[in-house]
Symmetry: C2
Subunit: 336 residues, 2 copies
Amino acid sequence: MTSAVLALTMGDPAGIGPELTLRAWQALRANQHAPPFVFIGDCDLLATTAAHLGFDIPVRVIDRPIDAPAVFASGLPVLHQPLAKPAEAGRLDPANAKAVLLSIETAVALTQAGEAAAVVTNPINKAALYEAGFSFPGHTEYLGHLAGLSQPTVMMLACDALRVVPVTLHVSLQEAIAQLDGKTLAHACRVTHAYLRDHMGIAQPRLAVSGLNPHAGEQGAMGREEIDVIAPTLKALRAEGLDLRGPLPADTMFHARARQSYDAALCMTHDQALIPIKTLAFDEGVNITMGLPFVRTSPDHGTALDIAGQGIARPDSLLAALRMAGRLSASGTVHD
Amino acid sequence: MTSAVLALTMGDPAGIGPELTLRAWQALRANQHAPPFVFIGDCDLLATTAAHLGFDIPVRVIDRPIDAPAVFASGLPVLHQPLAKPAEAGRLDPANAKAVLLSIETAVALTQAGEAAAVVTNPINKAALYEAGFSFPGHTEYLGHLAGLSQPTVMMLACDALRVVPVTLHVSLQEAIAQLDGKTLAHACRVTHAYLRDHMGIAQPRLAVSGLNPHAGEQGAMGREEIDVIAPTLKALRAEGLDLRGPLPADTMFHARARQSYDAALCMTHDQALIPIKTLAFDEGVNITMGLPFVRTSPDHGTALDIAGQGIARPDSLLAALRMAGRLSASGTVHD
């Protein structure tokens, strides 16, 4: 039997990760249905943050994730990995970059070994890591590297009302237009289809695919990417057995009735995907990394250095990420 | 005193305009607070459509808009302008193009003469008009021409929860990037500011302006339009006294808390503006044309030829357009 314990990374110790971890434990400790998690990082960081915020939270250092369920109701389980220097909320310190990365590496290793069920990551700050020699474009690419992936991962954002998959992501809009090709789109569609089927219990996933241009180009009147790239790609994917609609006008894809007609929406640009989900569920969105050989979720916010340590950051998205990781890891085996 | 009667154009007689007009009258006839409207078009078109759908709606031909209030509770007031040929629902007929245009011209003339309070337009089909020699890019440009405008109009979409202004509109995404310049953005901001102040009773309008790129470019990491175009334009407009925030990441502008911080959101692309408003209010959005020397609203849908004549089209958006026109025309004088 596989572990049901979630491996929660430390994230940047100067960000809101530590306080969100404490709040998440408070919310989940008494919940029999939520999977327990183990925090992989510095136990003193959590204890100090708890004391600073006036939280009465016992921190329990354990040796292995399998020990977490027994202690979870009475204390926050930690696999202790010390920081190089005590963290100061809101102030990045490259001296702790190695510990940030080690937490991620440990979470991945434990999950791949079957000792943890899934990886849930607290936010990191790339600038602090780059100063310490980190050379990946981001968190997710680093996970892909650790997993030895040859194909890019695909990001899904999910809330109760909607799942979206941005096909292009953190590049300029001009570059997004240039990047959009049949190969990228087909990869995103196939990975999404497989993930919905294998992890979300949807036997026949229905995908809706947006156009790039307003009104999906109106038969070429406002741009040709729909005709030249999107429609031919969808046609080929349908021949593989995928259930796809599109290219659809993006503006009419996201109202309540439209959302009933698909299981996930693939969007050509960052804003096409992120605007509707953040409009509908600003605090509860979860980032799911598809295409890894293990389940990984994360909150859809950053380190929020400007408010770190004040106890005002909302744990909703981390809680949603933990709950989602529990559901995803319980529902199937990853086919990679 | 200015008239409180709204001039409602016929729109394409083969579309859903006639049936929506009938349904709108049913909804508004008993409402003392809603302004009466007069339909400018063929009285037989309405009578035939009513009979076909089984609606018991008396059509009352009147001579001038001022006669509408007296008859509105008991019948639908029509300024009769005959079609060249009886319309068939769902089938465009260029023979009726002249009547479609005459209805618009009459509505504008009556409103400019003070005989009507505002123009509310039913949807037209450009293809049918082009065949008959119409040479404007669309409905709104035609209205601008009739009003003798030298500056382009600016479109706002509004619902109870949100007002959005797309700065670029019905062009390919590639072309939108090329069109976005300081002059276009500044014009949209100034026109929106003046409209909120003069027609919506907002003494100090607060505008929120999106970035073009994901995360508003992240200080140039993902595109430079924010740095090169948007920020300098906003700076110059602030010096004119406009209250503007931005460039803001578009994805975090539209959730409930964010919407409290501004009166209108200016968006760089069609989808940035249309996705949030159609996600929040698919049926009740109203199109408002700003920059005309009179009030004009319209439903934010088209002629819907595929369902015309079936009686299933929802009148929500036309009703919202009529109510909005009543409020806008009551609240101030147009400064042009």
